[in-house]
C-alpha cells in the first residue's frame, strides 16, 4: 500500500440534539482500496459519509485528502477534492438521457454565448464522447443516449458511478449499492469495483451484508453507536465475528428452525391480476396457496410485482380479476379493514409510507389498525389508558428501544420502527401473516429478532407469506420458494431444491 492515505478522517465528531452520531471517528482509505464500512442502522455510517461528502459539517476533527486538510462546506468542495458519492436512492432524472443526467450541473456549453452563465448551448456531443471514453476505460457498458427510465436498476447504477467519474472523482463512496440488485447484478458490480480500483480509484463501500463484505473488501471498518470499533481484514474475519463487532454481542445468524408441519390451506389465490397505479398489469394470473404452519417465500428482484401482489392480498389495491380465498371466505374484494379483521397480519413493504404514522406516539402506532375495537375504544371514545398500557407492554415484550411510549415513531431508528410494526401485527391472534421485506434496512440484531418471531408464528400454526428481495432471507426462512419475475410466478420450489444459483437465475428471468 502507498504511504499517504488518499482520504483520512481524524477524530470526526458530530452531535445532534440528544445524540452523538459520530464520536471521534478515525478512518483511513488507501489508494486503490475497497474499504467496506459496516454498521447497524443508526450506527452513524451515513452521518460519517455525509461529513466526508460535505453535507454535514463536523463539530470536531478534520478531513485530509492526499495528506492535506480540506474544509468541506458543501458537496461542491467534496467533488472538487475528488470525492464522488453514489446514493442508495439514485439521484437521476428518469425522463432525461444518461448523458443529460451525467452532465447535469457541470454542463459544457458551446456557441457564442458559452461564456455567459446559463445562456450557452449544451454541448451534448462532447459529453457523450467523454462518457463513452469513461465507460470504455472502466468497462462500464452504457449508452449515453438511452433514457434513464428505460434502463434496469443495475445500469442506472452505472450511470451514477460514471456521473461521479465524469466529475473526476478518484474516491467513490457507494451507499448500500447492492440493496437493489439481483445476486448476478451484484456480482457484476463487484467486478466493476475491482476494475475501478485497479485503475487507481479508491472506494468506500457501505453495506450491512456480511457475505458481500467478505467477498469484495480489501479492508473492513466497523462502526457501532457512533464509534469506530475496529477494522479487520477479510482473511481474518468471519460473518459471525463481524456481526459480533457490529452488534457488540454474539449474534446467531443461522435461523434455527424445525421442519414445517403444514396444515389446512389458509390462503388460496387463483389467477390473480393486479395493476399498477398507472394501469399496467403488475401481477399476471398468479396462483398459489399458503397452508397453516408453513412459510411460502416469494423471491424476486424488486419491481417484479411483489409489492402489488401484497397490496392486492391485503385490500390496499383493487383486484382486476381472479380470486382470493381466505380460509372459508371469498376475500377477493375485501376492504383493508375486513382483511385485518379476518385475522391477517401485514408487515408492509415501506414501513414509513404504510406502516406507521411518524408524528404519532409509539403507543398510538401500536393500535393503528385496532384503535376502534375494545378494549382500546369504548364506543367511539378512545381509551387512552388501555392504549398506553398496551404500548408499555409491547415495548417491553418486543424490546423496542425508546425512552418512552410517547416518543414519536418518526424519531426511532429503522430497526425499532420495524419492531413497532412487528409488535403490533404479532400481538393479536392471526391466521395469516403477510410479511413484505420485513427486515429491509434493519440492523443485524433486529433481523435476528424478527426472523425468530416469524418462525415462532409459523410454529404456532400461522400461515406465512414472506416477500423479500433478500435471497438469503428467503432461503433461510421459507419452506417453499416461489420466484416472481415480470408479474408472474415462474417457479415454485421446495426449499431443498432452492439453491442460490438456481433461484438467482429464476429471479433474472433466465430459467423457467
Amino acid at each position: 500500500m502507498s504511504t499517504t492515505p488518499v482520504l483520512e478522517a481524524r477524530g470526526l465528531t458530530k452531535r445532534f440534539p440528544g445524540v452523538i452520531a459520530n464520536d471521534s471517528v478515525d478512518l483511513t482509505l488507501n489508494k486503490g482500496e475497497i474499504l467496506a464500512m459496516l454498521g447497524e442502522n443508526g450506527a452513524g455510517k451515513t452521518t460519517l459519509m455525509n461529513m466526508l461528502y460535505g453535507l454535514y459539517h463536523p463539530d470536531e476533527g478534520e478531513i485530509l485528502v492526499n495528506g492535506k486538510a480540506v474544509k468541506m462546506d458543501s458537496p461542491n468542495d467534496a467533488i472538487a477534492a475528488g470525492i464522488g458519492m453514489v446514493h442508495q436512492h439514485f439521484m437521476l432524472i428518469p425522463v432525461m438521457t444518461v448523458a443529460e443526467n451525467i452532465m447535469l450541473g457541470v454542463e459544457e456549453t458551446r456557441g457564442v454565448l458559452a461564456k455567459l452563465p446559463m445562456l450557452g448551448r449544451l454541448n451534448r456531443r462532447a459529453a457523450a464522447v467523454r462518457i463513452k471514453e469513461l465507460s470504455k476505460q472502466y468497462s462500464l457498458d452504457l449508452d449515453p443516449d438511452d433514457y434513464i427510465k428505460d434502463l434496469p436498476v443495475g445500469i442506472q447504477q452505472r450511470a451514477e458511478i460514471i456521473k461521479a467519474l465524469y466529475r473526476n472523482a478518484d474516491i467513490l463512496i457507494l451507499d448500500e449499492p447492492t440493496a437493489v440488485l439481483t445476486p448476478q447484478e451484484a456480482d457484476e458490480l463487484f467486478a466493476i469495483m475491482h476494475n475501478l480500483t485497479k485503475q487507481g480509484v479508491s472506494i468506500i463501500f457501505i453495506t450491512h451484508k456480511l457475505k458481500e463484505v467478505l467477498k469484495v473488501a480489501d479492508r473492513i471498518a466497523v462502526l457501532r453507536n457512533g464509534k469506530m470499533v475496529g477494522t479487520a481484514l477479510p482473511a481474518d474475519a468471519t460473518q459471525a465475528s463481524l456481526a459480533e463487532m457490529m452488534v457488540g454481542r454474539e449474534v446467531i445468524l443461522q435461523v434455527d428452525k424445525s421442519e414445517a408441519t403444514p396444515g389446512d390451506v389458509v390462503l388460496d389465490v387463483k389467477d390473480l391480476v393486479v395493476k399498477t397505479n398507472r394501469g399496467q398489469i403488475a401481477v399476471e394470473n398468479v396462483s398459489f396457496e399458503v397452508r397453516a404452519g408453513e412459510i411460502l417465500g416469494i423471491a424476486g428482484v424488486q419491481g417484479n410485482g411483489q409489492s402489488e401482489l401484497a397490496e392486492g392480498l391485503t385490500g390496499l389495491r383493487p383486484i382486476e380479476s381472479g380470486h382470493i380465498q381466505l380460509s372459508d371466505r371469498d376475500s377477493t374484494h375485501f376492504l383493508p379493514r375486513q382483511v385485518t379483521e379476518m385475522g391477517v397480519a401485514h408487515i408492509p413493504e415501506d414501513r414509513e409510507k404504510h406502516g406507521l404514522i411518524m408524528a404519532y406516539s409509539i403507543a398510538d402506532n401500536l393500535v393503528l389498525n385496532r384503535y376502534y375495537q375494545p378494549p382500546f375504544a369504548k364506543g367511539p371514545v378512545l381509551n387512552q389508558e388501555v392504549i398506553d398500557q398496551n404500548g408499555r407492554e409491547l415495548v417491553a415484550e418486543y424490546d423496542v428501544r425508546t425512552p418512552s411510549i410517547y416518543t414519536t415513531a418518526g424519531s426511532l431508528s429503522g430497526g425499532n420502527k420495524q419492531k413497532v410494526i412487528v409488535a403490533r401485527e404479532f400481538s393479536r391472534p392471526v391466521k395469516l401473516l403477510i410479511a413484505n421485506q420485513p427486515t429491509r434496512g434493519v440492523d443485524v440484531g433486529s433481523i435476528e429478532f424478527i426472523h425468530n418471531q416469524i418462525i415462532s408464528q409459523r410454529d404456532s400454526g400461522v400461515a406465512v407469506l414472506l416477500v423479500s428481495a433478500e435471497l438469503d432471507e428467503i432461503l433461510s426462512l421459507a419452506d417453499r420458494v416461489a420466484v416472481m419475475f415480470d408479474g408472474r410466478i415462474v417457479k415454485t420450489l421446495p426449499i431443498a431444491e432452492a439453491t442460490r444459483e438456481r433461484v438467482g437465475l429464476l429471479m433474472a428471468g433466465s430459467e423457467t
Binding site: A21, K353, H354, L368, N369, A377, L382, Y406, T407, S413
Partner: protein, 375 residues
C-alpha cells in the same frame, strides 16, 4: 442517518408542555408589533410625530381591545366567529386538506340561518337552536360539495373551496336583492329574523354566542383527540397511505372533515346573524373565513389553542380601529401586523433565530401543516 434518540421523559414538565409550544406564537405576535411600530414611526412625517402616533395608536389599540367600556366585550364578539371559522380551517388541516372556503361556508350558514329565523315559527330557546342547526347545515352543504369533489374526483380542494366562496357570495347577493329583499327598509337586506330566534345580548353587542362557541371548540378537541373518529381523521391527514393500511377510508375522512368544517363556519355565520345583524345584507362578507386561516396556523391547528389565537386576532381587529380613531393611521396597519404574525408562525425558524430558541424534541404532534398544498 443516525436517528437521534429523543431525550424527553414520560412525564413532561409544565415548561415542556405549555411554554414551549407557546413561545413561537407569542414571540411572533410580539415581533410583529415591534415591526408595526417601526413602520408607523418611519412612515410618519418625522420621527417625533411618528412616536406620538405610535403611542396614541398602540395605546388606543390596547385600550380599545381590552380596557374601554365594551372593549373586551367587543373583542369577544369578534373572537367568537374567529374561533369557529378557525376550527373550520383546522379540522380539514388535520385530515390533510386546506379549506379556504370558510368565508363562503360562513355566508351560506348566515343565509340558511336567516331563512330559518324568518320562516319558522318556534318558541324561544328552541328557535335559536334550530336556527343554529340550520346555519350548520347550510355551511356543511358548502363543505360537502368540495369534499365530494376531492374524495371522488380528486379535484383539488383549494381551488374548489375558493370557487365555492364566489358562488356563495353571488347566490346570497342574488337572494338578498331578489326574493328575500325586505321592502320596508332602504338598505339591501333580508327581512329580519323573528325575535324568538335572536340570541340574548348581555351588554351592548355582546351576545351569548361565544358560550356556544367555547363549547363547540371543546367538543371539537374531544372529537379530534379522544374519539376513534378523530383518530381516523388525523391518521388520514398525517399519512393517507398508512390510514388505508389501518383500514380507514381516506375518502370518507376527506368528506367528513370538510362537512364538519363547513358546518362550523356556517354556525359562525348563524351566530353572527342571531346575535348581531338579525338580517343578511350584501355586505355580509366579513373576512372571518380568511382571517381563520391565520388563526388556525397561529394555533398550530390545535382546537383549544385556537381560542387564544382567535382572541389575539380579535383584539387586533377591534383594537386596530383605534389606530385610525386615535392616531389617524390606516386600518391596514393591522392587516400588516396579522400578515407578519402569520409569516413568523409559518416560518418559525425566523423567530427561533431572532430569540435563539432551541428546537424542541420530537414529541408534540401538530397537524400536518406543511402538507396542506400537497394534494
Amino acid at each position: 442517518m443516525a436517528s437521534s434518540t429523543p431525550n424527553e421523559v414520560e412525564s413532561k414538565s409544565f415548561r415542556e408542555r405549555i411554554l414551549r409550544p407557546l413561545a413561537v406564537p407569542l414571540l411572533a405576535v410580539f415581533t410583529s408589533l415591534v415591526i408595526g411600530a417601526l413602520i408607523i414611526v418611519f412612515t410618519a412625517e418625522n420621527p417625533a410625530i411618528g412616536l406620538d402616533k405610535l403611542g396614541k395608536g398602540y395605546w388606543g389599540m390596547f385600550e380599545g381591545a381590552f380596557l374601554k367600556r365594551n372593549g373586551i366585550l367587543n373583542t369577544l364578539v369578534v373572537t367568537s366567529p374567529l374561533i369557529l371559522t378557525g376550527l373550520a380551517v383546522a379540522i380539514p388541516f388535520h385530515a390533510g386538506l386546506f379549506n379556504i372556503g370558510a368565508e363562503g361556508q360562513f355566508i351560506m350558514g348566515a343565509f340558511t340561518a336567516v331563512l330559518a329565523g324568518i320562516y319558522l315559527d318556534l318558541p324561544p330557546v328552541i328557535h335559536p337552536i334550530v336556527v343554529m342547526l340550520a346555519g350548520f347545515a347550510g355551511g356543511a352543504l358548502w363543505g360537502l360539495i368540495p369534499g365530494l369533489l376531492r374524495a371522488y374526483l380528486g379535484a383539488h380542494e383549494v381551488i374548489n373551496t375558493i370557487m365555492m366562496n364566489f358562488i356563495a357570495f353571488a347566490l346570497v347577493s342574488f337572494a338578498v336583492r331578489g326574493p328575500f329583499l325586505d321592502p320596508n327598509t332602504s338598505s339591501v337586506q333580508t327581512y329580519p329574523i323573528q325575535k324568538t330566534a335572536e340570541l340574548v345580548r348581555i351588554s351592548g353587542r355582546f351576545h351569548i354566542g361565544i358560550f356556544v362557541t367555547l363549547l363547540v371548540a371543546s367538543v371539537v378537541y374531544y372529537f379530534l383527540y379522544k374519539t376513534t373518529w378523530g383518530f381516523s381523521l388525523r391518521t388520514t391527514g398525517h399519512n393517507p397511505n398508512a390510514a388505508k393500511y389501518a383500514g380507514i377510508r381516506p375518502r370518507q375522512q376527506f368528506v367528513l372533515s370538510l362537512v364538519l368544517a363547513g358546518g362550523l363556519a356556517g354556525l359562525a355565520g348563524s351566530l353572527e346573524v342571531q346575535g348581531l345583524t338579525h338580517v343578511v345584507t350584501t355586505g355580509i362578507r366579513a373576512g372571518y373565513g380568511f382571517d381563520a386561516i391565520g388563526v388556525s396556523l397561529l394555533a398550530l391547528n390545535n382546537p383549544l389553542a385556537i381560542i387564544p389565537a382567535a382572541f389575539i386576532f380579535g383584539a387586533l381587529n377591534i383594537g386596530g380601529d383605534f389606530l385610525q380613531i386615535r392616531a389617524g393611521l390606516s386600518v391596514h396597519i393591522v392587516s400588516i401586523l396579522q400578515a407578519f404574525i402569520l409569516l413568523f408562525v409559518a416560518a418559525p425558524s425566523i423567530v427561533r433565530y431572532l430569540y435563539r430558541l432551541k428546537v424542541s424534541g420530537g414529541v408534540a404532534e401538530g397537524a400536518p401543516v406543511t402538507r396542506g398544498w400537497g394534494g
